[in-house]
Amino acid sequence: MTKTVEEVKEWINTEEYKELNFKREAVVINPPKACQPLGAIFAASGFEKTLPYVHGSQGCTAYFRSNLSRHYREPFSTVSDSMTEDAAVFGGLNNIIEGLRNAHVLYQPSLIAMSTSCMAEVIGDDLNAFIGQAREKGSIPEDLPIPFAHTPSFVGSHITGYDSMLKAILENLHKRQKKTTSVKGSERTSLINIIPGFDPHVANIREIQYMLGIMGIKNLILADNSDVLDSPLTGEYAMYTGGTPLEDAIDASKNHGTIALQKNSTMNTIKYIQEEWENHPAFNMYPPMGIKLTDDFVEKISDLAGISVSKELEKYRGRAVDAATDAHQYIHGKRFAVFGDPDEVYGIVSFLLEMGGEPIHVLTATGSKTFKREMELLLASSPHGQGAKLYAGFDLWHMRSLLMTDPVDMMIGDSHGKWAARDANIPLIRIGYPIVDRVNMHRYPVIGYQGAINMITWIVNAFLEELDRNSDDAHFELLR
């Protein structure tokens, strides 16, 4: 019996449909995740004069560049070595030899960060050998660093690619460290390395540096793409506009310690640092979103640096707490759907719980067992988390069913949530990657104390905007 349009329109909103939707095992529909090389070139963009290079099909690179440029409204330079059918048969050696030569001569990078597309991975190209041969053939100078990472789209997601590339770059640069020199020795010991993770809000880096500035803790961001992905318009275009200086990255292991502000996108990098960098404490934590997680960060970094938390920072914190209590009544008891990358989702949920908001549908496309366990613990720790359910490894078509059968008041996630939010008739607060339908969101921090204020502002004002738009005359009040 064929159903009519009207019938199907009703049916896709039902509990029955939701059950069928959750039964599927093979097809993935609207997953909120991108693929590895996008994360890899994102990580590479955070180093000074570094050219991301994708070994494989060229179409992938065109997609990554477009995708990143839409989110940041910034140029994003990456080359591909354009493998085609003949490379599928004979391998991509010639592409690497010619590609490295051209990239080096034309774009004069100080470092070329090589990641791979699926094609190169399926045919099994040996990057180390190929790069070696390119050096022998004189494509590139002997000493030009070319860290590489295997980043097929059929493993993990963009956050995995970020991790792999960052680790590869740090490992490569670390080997270039001159053991004897410690000119900056004493200076270095007071520096703390900060790894932001795959963080689409560039202002987060600036917020962390601001807070550490208040605390008097010197830091090195690994890798810092804030000036690359938020560069000034001066009338002159420069391809390389910032990034962590390679000299600093080479000596990063001499610094006092390392903290990564995301767990899932830095697992291998942190493991590498813990194992290979001598006398160098390193750990990762969930992003400092909201007051509590920011407090955790502040406490950890002050322990690590051996510097007590300054009065000035407490004042800064106090203003955020003031904003939170001022606005609590607008968030308390409100029901939320949250989706995105595991770290960000953890941070948003933690923030909502401390505001008295109720996360209901919590969804990620990826997520390790550890993430699931820790997220369950977080939800269980609060009376406001009791109504929540975690869906790790799900997609936005699942989310739509959840919203239609068990409604919430607001959704938080990236721009891809807009169809589900529209069908559910709720506002979408845009946090995450990519945000391609609003301007300047990446210029606002969502971490640190200022990040808490920003999230409160966006969420509460969206509710109040809805209220004003939908009020009848009698309830249209000046005071809210």
């Binding site: 159903k3 349009v5 199907v8 896709i12 449909y17 069928l20 095992e25 093979a26 097809v27 993935v28 529909i29 997953p31 995740k33 991108a34 996008l38 290079y53 099909s57 060229q58 179409g59 992938c60 065109a62 997609y63 560049r65 995708n67 440029s69 839409r70 910034e74 140029p75 990456t78 080359v79 591909s80 070595d81 354009s82 085609t84 059918e85 599928a88 592409n95 690497i96 010619e98 030569r101 051209n102 990239a103 080096h104 001569v105 034309l106 597309s117 699926c118 094609m119 399926v122 789209s153 059929f154 493993v155 318009l233 009338g235 002159e236 275009y237 420069a238 739509r400 169809w419 069908d423």
Partner: protein
């Protein structure tokens, strides 16, 4: 406009930066237009040099992203790993009427999300299951297409067999498309492969009802920002009946019944000339190229169409031109003083590197450089009708070359894509995206020209450009 000699000198200077081998490759793709010189064309549709930062995409982008993606009642499965479908998810602005998730599947990303085990063991079983799951969850789909990503072709999956079996199982067409990204040298082969798949599996499988002598198909309009709706309005105003659009806001049925129309009217020649040639050879349907940008070309195109029909249509064409020209003249009157004399450099795909030139000229602007991402020889041949001596032609221009050309030629406006946009805006150059209409549009037809004119004015005359240099750095301070 540069002289031919100046142009040649600029090209020579730009090529200097390349290693010898690449220089020899690239110089064949760069030229200054010289009408008297028949051998001065550029080389095209060959492999991009590795490592130079080409803007080109891949066959998957040409098939799923361009040709198939806009067909709204068909579910397009991005078959393979998650990335390709993610990046092409609603990023081409193919507007479609219909209820999302019910009978319109354009703003979706359906993926088989390959994992390592699928690479090792093959994805055919998974694909079969996917097709059944989709058909169960979206019962009003009228068919499915399988858009192959790179790994599918490398691991030796037999998607044709799965398609054949599932077509029987579900009683709807399931079309395998071999558009793996490593095939060919750009999007272009993807268009061809997509056309061939439609030819082999879809076309002519249904008859058109209520045929008339004015039935036409509009081929190669993807309804970017509503372009196809504007085109349809303009064609129907003169009495033609647009029975089928390929493939903006299209239904499967439109593609099935296309061989029953009287004439194929093609806009994007590059991506769909194949199917026009096929319909001409197999069904004897003539085809004609038109240009929907700017009143001069629109009027020319309508008259060209009129010639292919009868006096009734011819009379309608004249009436429509007369009527619409009033508004067009007003638009030109308003904007020409603001943008006239400004120089433009174009770099786009498909038909736009030549087709939009007329619209700029209607506003008194001058195109001083143009090039195609994935054009062929026939595109460059056709371009000659649009340009004057001294225009710089660049095929598959590299990021480096484009920057250098813009610095040396110093146009007032650059019109290209998202990857280029912010490079030139950082230089303080007004810019418009000409793939997506910069989230504006439509640009086709009479109505489109008004929007086009407004947008070019906005880009060129935005007061924000005056903010670039602070007053303490301005000359004389």
């Amino acid at each position: 406009m540069l002289t031919i000699e100046e142009g040649k000198k600029i090209i020579e200077e730009v090529l200097e930066a390349y290693p010898e081998k690449t220089k020899l490759k690239r110089e064949k793709h760069l030229a200054v237009h010289e009408e008297a010189c028949s051998t001065c064309g550029v080389k095209s549709n060959v492999k991009s040099a590795p490592g130079v930062m080409t803007a080109r995409g891949c066959a998957y982008a040409g098939s799923k992203g361009v040709v198939w993606g806009p067909i709204k009642d068909v579910v397009h499965i991005s078959h393979g790993p998650v990335g390709c479908g993610h990046y092409s998810w609603s990023t081409r602005r193919n507007l479609a009427d219909g209820i999302v998730g019910v009978n319109n599947f354009v703003p979706f990303h359906f993926t088989s999300d390959f994992q390592e085990r699928d690479i090792v063991f093959g994805g055919d079983k998974k694909l079969e299951k996917i097709i059944h799951e989709i058909n169960g969850l979206f019962p009003l789909n009228n068919g499915l297409s399988i858009q192959s990503e790179c790994p599918v072709g490398l691991i030796g999956d037999d998607i044709e067999a799965v398609a054949k079996k599932t077509t029987k199982d579900i009683g709807k067409p399931v079309v395998p498309v071999r558009c793996e990204g490593f095939r060919g040298v750009s999007q272009s082969l993807g268009h061809h492969i997509a056309n061939d798949a439609i030819r082999d599996h879809i076309i002519g499988t249904k008859k058109l009802d209520n045929k008339t002598k004015y039935d036409i198909a509009l081929i190669g309009d993807y309804n970017i920002g509503g372009d196809a709706w504007e085109a349809k309005k303009l064609l129907e105003e003169v009495g033609l009946k647009v029975r089928s659009i390929w493939s903006g806001d299209a239904t499967l049925e439109m593609l099935q019944t296309a061989p029953d129309v009287k004439l194929n009217v093609i806009h994007c020649y590059r991506s769909m000339n194949y199917i026009c040639r096929h319909m001409e050879e197999t069904y004897g349907i003539p085809w004609v190229e038109i240009n929907l940008f700017g009143p001069t070309k629109v009027a020319e195109s309508l008259r060209k169409l009129g010639e292919l029909f009868d006096d009734h249509i011819k009379a309608n064409v004249e009436k429509a031109i007369e009527k619409n020209m009033i508004a067009m003249e007003k638009t030109i009157e308003k904007y020409k003083p603001r943008v006239g004399g400004k120089k433009v450099m174009l770099y786009v795909g498909g038909l736009r590197p030549r087709h939009t030139i007329g619209a700029f000229e209607d506003l008194g602007m001058e195109v001083v450089g143009t090039g195609y991402e994935f054009g062929h020889k026939d595109d460059y041949e056709r371009t000659k009708d649009y340009i004057k001596d001294g225009v710089i032609i660049y095929d598959d221009v590299t990021a480096y070359e484009f920057e250098e050309f813009v610095k040396k030629i110093n146009p007032d406006l650059v019109a290209s894509g998202i990857k280029e946009k912010y490079v030139f805006q950082k230089m303080g150059k007004p810019f418009r995206q000409m793939h997506s209409w910069d989230y504006s549009g439509p640009y086709h037809g009479w109505g489109g020209f008004e929007i086009f004119s407004r947008d070019m004015d906005m880009a060129l005359n935005s007061p924000t450009w005056q903010l670039v240099t602070p007053k303490w750095r301005q000359a004389g301070k």
